[in-house]
Symmetry: C2
Amino acid sequence: MAYFDSAMNLGNDHGRVIPVTVFVAVLCLCLVIGHLLKENRWVNESITAIFIGCCTGIVILLVSKGRSSHILRFDEELFFIYLLPPIIFNAGFQVKKKQFFHNFLTILLFGVIGVFISAFLITAGSWWLFPKFGFRGLTPRDYLAIGAIFSATDTVCTLQVLHQDETPLLYSLVFGEGVVNDATTVVLFNAVQKIDVTRLDGWVAAHIFGDFLYLFSTSTVLGVATGLLTAYVLKGLYFGKHSSVREIALMMLMAYLSYMLAEVLHLSGILTVFFCGIVMSHYAWHNVTESSRITTRHAFSTMSFIAETFIFLYVGMDALDIEKWKMSKLSFGTSLGIYSTLMFLILLGRAAFVFPLSALSNYMNRNAGTSSAITFKHQIVIWWAGLMRGAVSIALAFKQFTYSGVTSDPINATMVTITIVIVLFSTIVFGFLTKPIINHLLPHHEHNILHREPTVSKEDLTLPLISLDESAATNIVRAKESLSMLIESPVYTIHYYWRKFDDCYMRPIFGGARSDRV
Amino acid sequence: MAYFDSAMNLGNDHGRVIPVTVFVAVLCLCLVIGHLLKENRWVNESITAIFIGCCTGIVILLVSKGRSSHILRFDEELFFIYLLPPIIFNAGFQVKKKQFFHNFLTILLFGVIGVFISAFLITAGSWWLFPKFGFRGLTPRDYLAIGAIFSATDTVCTLQVLHQDETPLLYSLVFGEGVVNDATTVVLFNAVQKIDVTRLDGWVAAHIFGDFLYLFSTSTVLGVATGLLTAYVLKGLYFGKHSSVREIALMMLMAYLSYMLAEVLHLSGILTVFFCGIVMSHYAWHNVTESSRITTRHAFSTMSFIAETFIFLYVGMDALDIEKWKMSKLSFGTSLGIYSTLMFLILLGRAAFVFPLSALSNYMNRNAGTSSAITFKHQIVIWWAGLMRGAVSIALAFKQFTYSGVTSDPINATMVTITIVIVLFSTIVFGFLTKPIINHLLPHHEHNILHREPTVSKEDLTLPLISLDESAATNIVRAKESLSMLIESPVYTIHYYWRKFDDCYMRPIFGGARSDRV
């Protein structure tokens, strides 16, 4: 950034002023252009941000006379410490909890088992095919990392097209899978860093899976505990008496604290902050003043939105990082072969779990009524939704193949450029096609989805009524009934008992809506 | 931070995870304890945060076995780029604009002329007295910087005690002076860095003052322009149609952009972002959806609150920085002499302008009715309000005497510790006395203030009515009347014409409330 040093006022020595200014200005531009293109049939937010990032990169290249295309070094720490937490927390905070938990098992299937299947296929495929194109020099650990890196999906693009009210099941599946996928890939990536790659067998795979289960449960417990603590403090101290500022600040800081604590304790911050968000919106959110509720809901969305746009802008800007391009020594043909191999593996890896696991999920939910069946059209949409690769892939690739964004090894530089190409290609090409494809597969106001709604809402209405006139005399009869219910439709039954427990024990302590919201 | 390195998960190499976690946890603690002590007669937010910072510092000292008391190096860039902008922007955004502009001249007198008088006295006094205590080695530029550093007031503490509705004049004076003072000291400090200290005469002083006027006007214009642009974009594009997220993000980013642009252009970011805040709350705020209004109002307050608490926590933690204490080689007696000299100069420097300038202001406003007269009790409160020294002093001292928070020169280390002692002493001792003194001087529901209100509000009611039945025929009569009005009570007349201009030209273009708000 030497060429900007003369323009410094404060912070002469560090030179963060100009980069930050340019970034903020470009973010504003993104916002306005994104709004203007909102009605456009092809473009979505991610593509807009990537394009603007590319243009900015070109301008900076010209200004710096070809020395550099980006003004902030990509720092995977910046990403994991500052940008990812608000995005994931907001996901948990805004998720429709009822839908999410109704489909919890299916989401876990896709988000956990799916990632393992996809990562395995991509690792095996690239290990087998890369040397055939003449691209050698990657270690076994690198191949394992590649599996994790290219299994990280980016569902933002698809979620912008799906409508939560029109296709609630599909939306909750795609959304839920996106979050769980983020967590799984990061956990898998970290697990891969630690294992002994000299002897890869079933035992190692089992070990990774065991690690994952441990991380999943402890991270969830930490997130839930932080959320409950926040709710308890907010309920007990009643900050709103003086000002809503403290309430908002406490929710924000506690959410962030949960993420950071998880990182300090070597857990998955993503899972923790996601569950913290869910618990906060279920309990803590109801203990604050009306204006704090509106503020938190919108402020968290805004922070998440800014972080997302920032990431895509950066990816666009980084695409022109000529240093890495120069360092990469592959011929055009080899590169093209590797890109297509990876794209093919991504397509295949995802198909390999979406269709079988959907069938499995349909089989498991056969008794829960038609509302949970995933139709073939939905399966295609789910498959498509996870084809885009995004910021998580980039961040993991930088973590694996660079040292603070810098690398001097040609192989590593090549892997970074390959990741960037895959992310750009999948986001732009698949992203462009997303709106048309989904509009073709799921025309607006699809009838079989709309007349499915009443069955769900009817149950909502009856459940709380039942729990209200609950009495000791009916308990035994009910217990027998519920046992058969548990066998017939496990998810609904768990949900029903959870709600009773929630009303009797949790809400009196931690606060929350009196009504039938979950 | 080497002792924490083993606990890293992400970002192994940089080690920002633990410090950030500890800071966020301590911030949460501050929030809760601050809330519990809210009703306390003596303690205020700043003191709570400083105490908790000290305690954290002690704990860290013990954990690190005496190696360090702080976990984040003080970075004046962190302060000027990330912490100060939200505080000042929020000040502009939440200020009661009517009161502020009614008292604009008086505020400027205190905030600009006052700082020059105070800085001159402190520079001259320390230049004369420091060598007498045996403290030598400071350059003329250092003495000039000391004048600016110890003229930066911190009015947060007093503002927490004053009530905007009970003593509107006093509140707006103290608040307005605080903001203008921040800007003036930073500008003065930067000016001092540039001037040729070998020949100090009246010409140099005039040059500094000229520089200041230029900076003041250009910074204001930049802030107003950014604010108007935001309002225009928000009005023209109507973001609320899709989501309020974009509106909120745009307001936030544009405000920040104005600050950063000012820094890039060597202007005063503080003044720019302050006026940007005023213009945004006058125009842009009215162009967004209802929920965005609530969100921005509360989110900006929250950000400002967190930044303030963060700063005081840091000051408390930094007080135990033993490295600097070891480096300072003054004897106990000399140190005590220097502390008392500086405290005396601060008291004197402030008294030297508050009382004369109040008298001048009363003389200027003699025709504007009793509402603008500053009583002697008020003068004492204003004097007292500006005795505390805070984060700006610390940041400027670090900028002058350290290189990114580190110094190896004993003289410089001594100056940093002196600044910290003065800030701690003034905040804690004067801060403790603020509530009792103000409650003594201004008992709640002071009658002469309450029955002053109606005169102000009556005028509010008549002014818009006059402007509504404005017609060409009455214009000439009115012009003559207004000329005599301008001479008799200039501020009110300017205000009246501004309001007409605002209603006719500005609001139709930039949006804003239809009513009589200013």
